[in-house]
Symmetry: C3
Subunit: 362 residues, 3 copies
């Protein structure tokens, strides 16, 4: 790698004036490669994948100081499958019609993780574009594995609603950070259908539209948050409610969350799940532990998946870590969850898997 | 956002020598989010979209000083749909076979807006790659709305030829800038067919090939330009001719253009259009006004679309603006133009729409 | 182009401490545009393409100093079709099922050229992700035309195996650089099938998996390297063996390589090829010459392609060059190789072509 240095010329500098640091553009990213293995009663699978510890990505972001406490900013972040070079996929309308076909290799760098422009001031932040949904944050932040890799909580893995993690076409408001520990956000997202969509006309005009709300309180070692989300679909709305909490005792940080979902589709029903877990600092690394469970309440059965996960990561630096994770999922009531691409001979069989990898951020 | 600064290392620096600023690489872009609404007699639509004021994009560009007045440069610019994270699409051969299928979400960062390498000197610039066509510039530059958003001129909206705005595989020459106010360019683009393409052999070998010419004169507040373009298609060549002018009176900048197109397809015919408009500075913003009309002369009818558009943008800084645009299009003679995704119950109905958004550049 | 300068803020700086140059992120690339022409007995073709001299690309890469002689690094490099703005395609599993459909224009910026994360020390380098295969390097490096443009060696052009140049899901080890001139690497790549894939179960579980080995010795003007690769396919494994050497006499650098391939598919057979060539410095440029031949030994016939190529490049600077290449390929035994998109009326006809272009790197 060449060591020569140059200053980077950007349009951003044109109007930056003296406040250079406040009007910068940042190139950032994560490249996380994982050797993954999953085993099940029908088959096992070994593969090189990405994002076993942190989500692989490349992004550009920047902030402009507008004066008077106001700022404008942008954030463009793309998922990167660094095992094979392909990009992540997005969904343009929060409906099944808005997703790319699963053409292997047929996807380039897409800002599927986040694509937003914001105005912010002491009143908070107005944010427009593709972003995480408020109802996701509880599940992702209150999980020792942060929704990455084989250890991901079953409360996330069991959700199939398209807006479970992110939504496109969002209009969001975030509370300012100076509210004595309170934080929160409200988000509305559009399905972008014509007013006469569907048969009869107008029956599906709200497909893919919805909203999310989130309110939390953090103080010292303590953090608690609750969230609600609703996505409207012609086949039946999807309701999400969750609450999470964390307490950092120093020798261990305990986290837990509970999730109460409801699908208005006749054959679907309610879903209930929880996670309890912990992060234990050990020298230059940490041990991660979690136990998560998700049960769907159908009329005839209650498919239930229960996962135990344990991991260890060793930090070579703040940016670079080696990690290993093992997880095991048990199924009952007709559930058929598997880990790392394994397959089952029949429902209710169990599956296990591991990740072993390196995460490098820049 | 992290405030830490680092110098950016680039290969460009290796041979830059002392002339650092002349051999820099620039990361640039625009993130423009718009809440858009369109209404028509059959349906209305509300959605979050992009590029209501300026075209959303991310790009890399740079220039190398070769000495003796010569320079080499590159420009890679990709459209970004920052409402949902998807990328723009390109067309590889200026024909319908060269376009991506409309797979929702199935497109990553593509340098669809511009991908060129250039050699320049006091003799002008040789430019190779994907670029705007010369015949587009008249329509885009002499439009208060710059072909962005609901206010885009009907002289652009009514064109369906694939090279109306950009072409791939172009070989272009641009006049130098020191010609006493004269400016211009010539461009040839290739459809890239085999010499025996089509039936009978050779019948479609020129599909998608064409050229454009443009000559203008600008002096002080005055600017006038005319252009001609021809794209060859097996179904019939498409001819474009236009002339535009602008005069900046200070209190208002007036712009106008006229467009004379001809399609050699038997069922198509001539198209004639014009735009008159103005830009009125108001404090930290400006009012934008335009009236545009496009009429197609068929044997049996003359479909005609007439649009009135008014907008206001407030500049929070040179980089960041809030804006609102309203437009109304009237149809007659069987025309069915709509705004912002609305649909009509029958031709000749009218449609209106608005954009409300924020544009941030970097 | 704006000359204003700004420092570039990167997360990389957060933990860099004083060793700034050792923890930098580099934006790099090549934009190479070529006017290409091919002629054959059935048709000719003229087109603007890319990568006639160097592979067009855009990439990000960086290295972090971990102390104690250790470092972590990443490399994300995407092919760019700068004639039309589209991106390159990748293959996610080294099998035909892992390739994108050939949707024209339907591919964005994909890190198809390289996507890796590495740990390195005085023991060598561990590299994970998508990368060149070891067996390719002999053919690419020991070719005056470096596998770019119309002059590419027939020992590369004649290979159809998907891992001939690159593989996804690689786990690689590279020898350190301080071994007295010896260099080398070992690489294993995964096809990522389930253990019961195919019929009967397990029959195709190794599809797309394989490995490559490479060992070389370079000292002063002399460089010799040999490599072996094996990719497993259900239809029959593909074996590659090659040896290459170069000697720089100053007035001419001679290069040669020999390739011995074997395809276990019944109807395929052995392939044997070689290249001899030279690079002759001439003022600010160089002449490039090569003669290459590849013969497939089938039961009934021996299709053979023989190519002669000559080129000249004039360096306007270290970063920017003008170049021209001419090549002619002769076919016998049923071979039907063509150059630059030309087509043949019947096998055993010959084809010729030229490239004329500009290469600019940054």
């Amino acid at each position: 790698m060449k060591k020569s240095l140059m200053a980077f010329a950007g349009l951003a500098a044109l109007n930056a004036g003296p406040a250079l640091a406040q009007s910068s553009v940042t190139l950032f990213g994560v490249v996380d490669a994982t050797l993954a293995h999953g085993s099940g009663s029908a088959s096992s699978k070994t593969f090189l994948t990405n994002s076993g510890f942190s989500s692989s990505r490349v992004g550009f972001r920047g902030t402009e100081d507008l004066g008077g406490g106001m700022s404008a900013s942008f954030w463009l972040e793309a998922g990167v499958n660094n095992d094979n070079g392909a990009g992540g996929t997005t969904n343009t309308n929060n409906q099944s019609t808005g997703a790319a076909p699963p053409a292997a290799g047929g996807q380039g760098l897409t800002f599927n993780r986040r694509a937003t422009v914001s105005l912010a001031g002491n009143w908070g932040e107005l944010r427009l574009g593709r972003d995480y949904t408020p109802q996701y944050w509880t599940l992702g932040l209150m999980d020792p594995f942060g929704s990455n890799g084989v250890g991901t909580s079953q409360t996330v893995n069991s959700l199939t609603v398209l807006t479970a993690v992110r939504a496109s076409n969002t209009i969001g408001y975030l509370l300012p950070r100076n509210l004595g520990g309170f934080y929160g956000q409200a988000q509305y997202y559009l399905g972008e259908n014509n007013s006469n969509a569907g048969t009869p006309a107008g029956s599906t005009k709200n497909d893919g539209s919805g909203y999310g709300l989130r309110l939390g309180f953090a103080s010292g070692p303590f953090d608690v948050v609750l969230a609600h989300g609703l996505t409207r679909y012609a086949v039946g709305d999807f309701h999400q409610n969750n609450i999470g909490a964390a307490y950092d005792f120093g020798v261990v940080k305990l986290v837990a969350h509970f999730s109460f979902d409801k699908n208005d589709i006749a054959t679907s029903g309610k879903g209930r799940g929880y996670l309890v877990g912990g992060l234990i600092p050990v020298g230059a690394g940490q041990i991660r532990l979690s136990y998560s469970r998700y049960q769907i309440e159908l009329a005839a059965a209650k498919p239930t998946a229960t996962k135990f996960a344990i991991g260890y990561n060793y930090n070579l630096s703040k940016r670079t870590a080696l990690y290993a994770t093992f997880a095991h999922v048990s199924n009952s009531g007709g559930s058929g969850q598997t880990l790392n691409g394994a397959t089952l001979a029949s429902p209710n069989d169990s599956s296990s898997g591991y990740d072993f990898g390196i995460r490098h951020s820049f």
